[in-house]
């Protein structure tokens, strides 16, 4: 128990004994997971394993029935709503890329910047140099500099994924939750995304959910396999993929 307590304070994200059920269906079942500061973790698991529900719990969209969810060792995330959690520094990329389609790429990034988000602040907002420079840097990172004035809705699927990652960067969170970033991407784009995430991981903690095993292998980080809302196996990709139970779950019994 003592060991658990110390881990709880040192981990950036700490989930312990989390349960969620929807109408009797146990989406998350006694889930315990910790993420150290600076770590990148890949989450795999078959459909319905509870990966997205877990992200919903961390970001405040879903309230767990029981269990502990701590951020930075002190903040109880189960008591906060999406807005507060985003303000604390947890950013999320959705499974289906969600950008503001009728606005330009630059405006999408401007909206994502972690500056004053109050009604008054935005009503009287004026462009400032540091903000412009930050947007500039993000545009460069996600390689959309030439497309800055295009509407986000006109981007290809892969570019939208990158724009959403760019929005995460503009948000400058401590923890990034990235849901299926390479879905619908070409091999080259997948490779570039892996490079980008590794780059971002130099100063941020990342949790990435992905089905694409080549991509997960390329990330080369610790892997957690979820099944029926609980952790089935944890370790390197080779350890996890050679785990009998994981194989059984993926291939069906």
């Amino acid at each position: 128990m003592n060991i658990m307590d110390t881990r709880a304070t040192s981990a950036l994200l700490y989930l312990d004994g989390v349960h969620v059920s929807f109408d009797g269906f146990h989406a998350i079942n006694n889930l315990s997971l910790t993420l150290a500061p600076g770590e990148m973790r890949a989450i795999i698991g078959p459909n319905g394993a509870g990966k997205t529900t877990m992200m919903d719990i961390i970001t405040g969209k879903t309230k767990p029935d029981q269990g502990t969810v701590l951020f930075d060792g002190v903040t109880d995330l189960t008591r906060l709503d999406e807005t507060r959690i985003a303000e604390l520094g947890i950013g999320r990329k959705f499974q289906k890329p969600t950008v503001f389609e009728s606005q330009t790429i630059e405006d999408n990034l401007l909206l994502a910047l972690n500056v004053d988000h109050s009604v008054k602040g935005t009503l009287f907002w004026r462009e400032t140099r540091p903000e412009t420079e930050r947007i500039e840097r993000v545009l460069e990172t996600i390689r959309l500099k030439d497309a800055r004035n295009r509407l986000a809705g006109s981007l290809s699927h892969g570019q939208k994924q990158w724009l959403e990652i760019g929005m995460l960067l503009a948000q400058d969170p401590k923890l990034l939750l990235v849901d299926e970033p390479v879905a619908g991407m070409t091999d080259v784009e997948t490779h570039q995304t892996a490079e980008l995430l590794k780059e971002i991981n130099k100063d941020k903690t990342i949790m990435v959910v992905e089905h694409d095993m080549t991509f997960v292998r390329e990330l080369g980080v610790k892997v957690t396999c979820l099944h029926e809302g609980t952790v089935l196996a944890e370790g390197t990709i080779d350890q996890v993929s050679s785990n009998d139970r994981v194989v059984e779950v993926y291939l069906g019994r």
Binding site: K61, A86, F100, S102, Q103, R150, L151, G153
Partner: protein
């Protein structure tokens, strides 16, 4: 802080719109008052009052476009805020009648004498002062919108459910105001107004001045809306409209934004109602009828939601058509025509008159936009939630 807000909000079409409204606001009253009656350029008084009514509707349409076109809040009860503003003004006008009423009671309006009210109800106090009534024109609709919005937006009531409860709100007010013991004249409402700020409400000069003031209100409302939608707050509103939960996950308190814009919009609707009442000479519970609110939404859809100018234009065009058709042999078919208009606009011009015009015009205006961006803009128009939903 203000100058940069103003310069940003005035693009070319906005400036043209403001100039046209200002010109009409000055020229129509002048022509009515200065030219001899019978001259072809003289605008008769009845038309001044009619146009004044349209301008008030245009302000109401702006207030709806601000929340619906930019924030995706479809209110089907905005007529309630309009009517509340109207009642506040009507109460002032009733108190101005004084002892000139049929019963000659210096304090109690006629309907209260008729209904045997022993004394003035407490909520009628203060309305003999114009400044107080003018304040209530803003405060009453604003406060109702704030309380309603606070409950609805905090509970995350959105989409069609929100539309339904706004409809229920205006219907509840309709029923309440119909009651004689509610203290607002029941079925008959408030009428027989004599004067406003000492001027006869029937006089040509007063009507001309009210028309001018309505145009001024339209200009100010338009400037406020433009300042809001061209600010960063405007971008947040569009973000909420297009992807509400995404906006939340970026750390925006969506309910605060909705509450702000909903309350602002209700205050604008209240001002529109307050200017409407002295020009038409009556306010009764009929103004709360759900049909009125729905009609106002149709004006915005016809003109083009999310364009502001389109909303104002839609209000004037549809109401002109209404006046034209309901005074001729086609009168019994007007509601069918209105319904058909709404269906046709939804199917053929989903972006409304101004939205469609912009679509044709912009490729010429801004060649710097790539072809891809333009086609995407067209696609957006189709995929926007359609007003019939």
């Amino acid at each position: 802080m203000m100058p940069h807000v103003l310069t940003r909000s005035l693009d070319r079409s906005a400036s043209i719109f403001l100039l046209v409204v200002a010109a009409l606001g000055v020229l129509i009253p002048l022509s009515n008052l200065l030219l001899p009656s019978g001259s072809i350029f003289q605008v008769p008084t009845y038309l001044v009052a009619l146009f004044g009514k349209y301008v008030c509707y245009a302000v109401l349409a702006l207030s709806i476009d601000l929340i619906w076109g930019y924030c995706g809040i479809l209110s089907l009860g905005h007529g309630a805020f309009f009517a509340l503003g109207g009642y506040a003004m009507g109460m002032y006008l009733m108190r101005q009648i004084g002892s000139r009423g049929v019963y000659g009671n210096p304090i109690l309006p006629d309907f209260m004498v008729f209904l045997n009210y022993p004394k003035l109800p407490w909520y009628w106090h203060g309305f003999d002062m114009f400044w107080f009534a003018a304040l209530m024109v803003l405060v009453v609709p604003g406060l109702l919108a704030f309380c309603f919005g606070w409950l609805a937006f905090r509970s995350r009531v959105t989409g069609v459910y929100l539309s339904i409860i706004t409809q229920a709100m205006t219907y509840a007010l309709l029923l309440a105001f119909f009651r004689n013991d509610f203290g607002f004249g029941g079925n008959n409402g408030l009428t027989d107004f004599k004067d406003i700020l000492g001027f006869n409400v029937q006089a040509d000069g007063t009507r001309a001045a009210l028309f001018l003031l309505s145009c001024l209100a339209l200009i100010i409302a338009f400037l406020i809306c433009r300042a809001v939608v061209t600010s960063k707050l405007g971008k947040v509103l569009i973000a909420v409209r297009d992807a509400e939960s995404r906006t939340r996950f970026l750390g925006y308190r969506v309910e605060s934004y909705k509450l702000f814009v909903f309350t602002l919009s209700a205050c604008m609707a209240g001002v529109a109602g307050a200017l409407y009442v002295p020009q038409v000479g009556i306010i009764n519970p009929g103004e709360f009828a759900p049909g009125n609110s729905i009609e106002a939404v149709i004006w915005v859809a016809v003109g083009g939601r999310g364009t502001l100018i389109g909303a104002a234009l839609g209000a004037i065009v549809v109401n002109y058509a209404k006046t034209y058709f309901t005074s001729g042999p086609l009168a019994p078919y007007w509601l069918f025509m209105l319904g058909a208009l709404f269906i046709l606009v939804t199917l053929l011009l989903p972006k409304g008159l101004i939205g469609t015009f912009n679509e044709w015009w912009e490729p010429y205006k801004a060649r710097r936009l790539s072809d891809a961006a333009e086609s995407a803009a067209r696609e957006d128009g189709v995929s926007e939630p359609n007003p019939a939903e």
